[in-house]
Every structure is written in C-alpha cells, then in structure tokens.
Subunit: 427 residues, 2 copies
Amino acid sequence: MPTQLTAAMGKKITPEMEIVARDEGLAPEDVRRLVEEGAVVIPHNNGRSFRPVGIGKGLRTKTNANLGTSSDELSPENELLKLEAAVEAGADAIMDLSTGGDISAIRRGILKNAPVPVGTVPIYQAACENLALEKRLEDISAEDFFSVIEQHGKEGVDFITVHCGVTREVVKRVENEGRLLDIVSRGGAILSKWMRYSGMENPLYERYDRLLELAREYDMTLSLGDGLRPGCLADATDRGQVQETIVLGELAQRARKAGVQVMIEGPGHMPLDQIEANVTLMKRLTHDTPFYVLGPLVTDIAPGYDHITAAIGGAIAARAGADFLCVVTPAEHLRLPTVADIREGVIAARIAAHAADVCKGVKGAAERDNLMARARKSFDWNLQIKNSIYPPHAAEVRASSKPNDESVCTMCSALCAYKHGSVGEKA
Amino acid sequence: MPTQLTAAMGKKITPEMEIVARDEGLAPEDVRRLVEEGAVVIPHNNGRSFRPVGIGKGLRTKTNANLGTSSDELSPENELLKLEAAVEAGADAIMDLSTGGDISAIRRGILKNAPVPVGTVPIYQAACENLALEKRLEDISAEDFFSVIEQHGKEGVDFITVHCGVTREVVKRVENEGRLLDIVSRGGAILSKWMRYSGMENPLYERYDRLLELAREYDMTLSLGDGLRPGCLADATDRGQVQETIVLGELAQRARKAGVQVMIEGPGHMPLDQIEANVTLMKRLTHDTPFYVLGPLVTDIAPGYDHITAAIGGAIAARAGADFLCVVTPAEHLRLPTVADIREGVIAARIAAHAADVCKGVKGAAERDNLMARARKSFDWNLQIKNSIYPPHAAEVRASSKPNDESVCTMCSALCAYKHGSVGEKA
C-alpha cells in the first residue's frame, strides 16, 4: 500500500492531500510537492479513518496535546474526557502517553474516539510491561521494542515518537561535557540506561531499516524523538543535543528515501535567546523536516505556570520555523494534568501558534486579528467573543462583570478609548 | 530639594541609590552614574517613604500592576485588596488608574498602604471630574491638567503618565496614514479629542516646562505616555507611533536637563516580529531612557488570555532591552480585573521578565534556574516549591495529586526520567 510520501513521489495527489490543501488554502499540487520534499507530513495510519491534518512548511502551525495515565493516576474514563477537552479547545493532534493501567485498552479507546491524528511513544509500553513483570528496565529485549511498535501500527496509531538518535556516541558526548540535569526525556533515559547495562547500541538506531519497514507498512509517521533534549536552561544547546540533531538529520533522510513520513522533535528547556538559532540549525541539518517542539520553556522556575513559559518559547520557535507545538500544561513538573489543565495548555499553545502564524504569513491569520480590531471598533461583542481563541471563556469573563453601558466593558466604562479615540471624528 | 537625578549630576550617592545598588548587586557609584546618564530611574516622591526600586539598564526587569476603579466597579476596599495581591505576587510597582468613585480618596488610601512606587495618570482624574460635572471631555481647561498633576505630586505620587507626545503634528500623521483601531490609549484619546475641539496644541507639550517644574518639586518621575500606541496588530509601528517616539525622545532629553527623572512608555499590540525593532528604535531615539512597555500583545484574538499574549511579547521586549513590564491581566478587553486577575497577571509578567533577565545577564537570574535544576535532580520538593515563581500555587498543585513514591510526581510516576536518566550512573 502506498504511503502519503510514496504517493507524492509518484506524483499522485491523495484524498488526504486534497483535504489538507482545502484547509490551508493551498493548491493540492503544492501540498503534494511539499509532502514529496518531506517538508510537510500528513500523519494518517492507513488503517484509521479521520479528517487528516498537515504539518510543516507553509501550513498553519499545529498543536498537539499529550494525554495518558500514569501509575498514580490511571482512570481510562478521565483520559477520554481529556481527549474531548483537548479537541474542543482546538488541539490539532493528540498523543496517548499512558504509562498506567491497561495501556493497550486505553490506547484503543482513544484511537476509536479521536477525530484527530493520534501519536504514541511505544517504548513507554515496553518499559511498563517490563516493570510490571518486576524486571529491570534494562532487561527489555530489543525485540520488545519492535513488537510494541508493530502492535501500535496495527491498531491504527498515526505517528510514533522513536528515540533513534540516542546512540552510544551521542550519550558519550553528553557524558564528556557534563550536564546539570542529565537526560530528562523518558525515552532517552530508558534507552541510555539500557545501552549502559547491555553494552549494546540503541536497537532503534542499529535496526532502523526494520523500523522503517514497520512504519511504511501502516504509513505511521515517525517522530524522531529528542532523547537528549535539555531539561534545564543550563543544559540547552550543548554538544550532546546538537550531536543528536545531526544523527536525526541523517535518519530523516533515510526515512524519506524509504517512503516513510518523518518529523523531528525538539527541546525542551532553553533561554529565549537560543531558540531561533536552534530552529535554524535543526531545519538546516534535517533539510526542512517538519519540526515538533515541546516548549521550549524559557525558564525553569515556573512550575504551575509552564503553559506560559512554553507559550513564550513556542511563539518564538514557531515564528523561527517550528511547525508543530506540543502542549505544555500548567501541571508540568507537578502532577499528571487534569482535564482543566489540558484545556488551558491547548489554548496557550494555540495562542503561541497563532501569534507566529501572523508573522509567517499563514493564510487567514492576520485577517483574524483584523476582524477582532474591527469588532472592537464597532462595539460588536458577539463577534469579539465568537472570534476569540476560546469563546466560552471570553463569554464567561465578559458576563461576570456587567457594564452600565452595554457597548463598553467595565475596565474603562465611560472613559472607553474606542469611544473617544476616533481620529476621523470631526467637530 | 534635589531630585535623584540632580543629586546624581552633583556626584552625590543618595540613600535610595544605595538601596538599589544593594538589591541589584551593583556598586552604588554605578547606580549613581546610570541615574546621571538617565539610563536608570528611581521613582520616589520626596514626600513619601517606602523601599525604593530602580528601573533601567543593567537592572532586573521590573513589573508594574495597574489597579483602580471604573465607573462600573468602584469599591475602594477592593482596590486595597488588589494592591495587597499585586505586592504579594511580586509586583515591583503599582499604578492607581481609578476612574470611578472618590478618586482622590482611593489614591490616598493606596499611597498610604503601598510598600512600592505608586504611579497615576492624572489626566484620568481631570476627565472624570469633568464628566461628573456633565461637561464634555473637551471642556477640560488646560489649567485643570496642571492642577491635578500638582495635587498628585503633593500627595506623594512617585511617577505619572503624561501623554506629552500627543501633539497636533503626531495626530495628523495618524490621520494621514489611517488606522484600523484609531487611538486606544485613554490619555491619547482624551487629548486628541481636546485638541480637535479646541483647535489648540496639547498643553502638556506646549507648557512642558511648567510640567517639569512640578515634577522636579516632588521628584515625580515622568512616564511619557505613548498616546498613539497601536491597539491592534495592523496599526503597529505606523508613522504616527514612530513620530510620537521621536517627540518623546526630545522631551526626555529636556526632562533630564531640568533634573527630572523620565521613562518612556511603549506599545501595545504588535506582531512578534516587530518587537525587537521597536525596542531598538525606542532606545536609540530616546538615548537609553528606561522603557516601560504594556505588553506588547502579540495577537488581538485572545481576550480572556491576554496575560499570555502579553507574556510572550513582554519576554521578547525585555530581552531586547525593555526595562519595565506593565502587567496585563486575563481580564483585559473584557472587564475590570478582579483580585485573582491581578495575581495571575503579575505572575505572568514576572515570568516574562525573568526569562529575559536570564538572557540579559542580570545578576542572580540564571543562578535561580540552576538552583531549580539541582532541586529537581535531588528530588528536593521543598526547594522546588520555595524557589518557584509563586510558591503557594506550586504547592497547591503538587498537593492536589499525591504520588505513591513521594520523591516523584504523578506525571511520570515510576517512569520519572530523573530516576533513570543519570548519565553518570555506572553499571
């Protein structure tokens, strides 16, 4: 069966490309060409049915919300509520990162209900099943990694994070330089521990061709994970991180040659003045592979507010060329997110994405801001609320404080500048 | 009586400069020199007593929270609660922007209770008193502007926003170019309307020397308002805005010559790729005058979340050189902020300021992030919470979801990367 990429290489426009083109206001042939170049991916397992979404160059910046249980919070019902909240708040994709309870059943529930692309991190399941058997993480067999990946592909997962760039060489570079917070990606931590104990190379790297075969069979998009992403500002843009990017660039090229769609994941925690350089470097080293960032969080000191630290970093990253923002919720570093946390996180990420899209010249982005400016000028509150990033909340705040003159709000009341500031008004 | 600036010009180090130097980890002589150059201000009315704060080049980026009633929401008690919340959340200064109820009494209450610098916008009071007499805004006499300013100086106000740059020439430039949302600064709107009806020049510009005399008498710092700041992305960096900056640069120079401390206010709503250019331009045209920004808000479409749009813009602006961030609350564009809104707004602005301070090399900034990284690595939750931007909230979120193993959190539980990701660990 062809993948989106092999179809594009064969000059064929798929139904998914047509939908993406329509949503983005582009010509179908432009989308096909971008998919062929590898600058756009359309994560869409060939065994699952839902409205496709394109991610990459020239398209609207997309957002992904991470859901999933942990061994401390493992209600499957709650995860379905989070899925619903994420989609209602406007997430373009979701990832199920469950690590507690019946992981396979939870994933199947999410795959059945999600109207958007679904991603997973198969290594979590391999690790959890190992821990459940009271074995050590390092006792996972290389075969376990692949059998879980195959299972996810069969069930309909649209994209998977695989930490193929966490090689012995890359980890050695991190060790040589030293880090304040070591490895903070769970996948990266598991694999580096596994390599240290086994003395062997990362199987996802060493047997990458096998991974490509599996991905191609189901048209699962690979999201090459940044296992060495910095977990604090001090570790950002170090030699290990950049080394991993070089390796990921090579792997992305091999994926495309094999007809497999591929994205690359990026940091992490990062001072805001390093973000643009990181995106530029990533895009160059990976030949414009769609770039999926987690944050970056521009400070380490704001637990409880990391949706804001991530919105700052995400806006800067997206403007510099990042294509896909992973939602960071206010719960990050403190607890598994609640339904409300997911909602707040999605909205903050969408704000960052939209602010960047205005600068990227994405079709319709600036027009939406201009529509809001006109609605303000004409005191059209219905339009202001309808056109806001999350109408239910704007409506609620507005309704909580009633002005005497309904055309204004209680902030300025009679002194509303829109009432007095018209420059066209004549005496 | 000398002002901070005239003292600095006379090579004298004031007690206020000594405190600022201690707080910032600088030598008192360095602070004196920065004040003399006009690159730092210490807003501190000579008739009021409180711990001084420095604002400007080389110092920690400061935040200001706007409080104050409107004609729809006019409880004086509530404003004192907002003051308390703003200070508790870490605001470095507050402004009382009351436009409802007994404005003078509210201001006096705030001045009495505020342990931080207090600013006002005297023209609001002039306008409100006029409206209360059922007169038109444009019937304010030029004398009214100055008598209100004198009253604020006498009562102890530390800094005042004065829209001296809203001249006939500047407004003409806005009219020539045209705008989507006209003038959105209340002071700018009032003055432009006043000039249009009276046919006269802005008295705060025409009689600027009189304003300087009043400011000098009380050592009130002038905050030259950006009356033409853009109110939507489409109006950003237009000719009117830049023209006003040129005029404000001239006025700042005249203020310093007269021994009056001066800051300059900036936008506003602005696409994020214009922010750095704006800060660079402002700093150059005004010879490094401390720059006080409202936002900038990087999109118009997020009412209910404008603390986030402002945090994105504020972080970028502060990194580019802005010195003082005005808090924007989640209530902006929808209602007068509540106590909770003020708290959320202050925290978001402080995150933006701190993220920039790490990049600016402000003393102690990066060290605080590193301390957090170490606390995470050592699973020291008390330190993580104590060192967070707003400890009560971090503590509450953490306590709401109890992990089985207390050293981790319920996000990753047994799969915590800090547990598995040590690169130093040996087999």
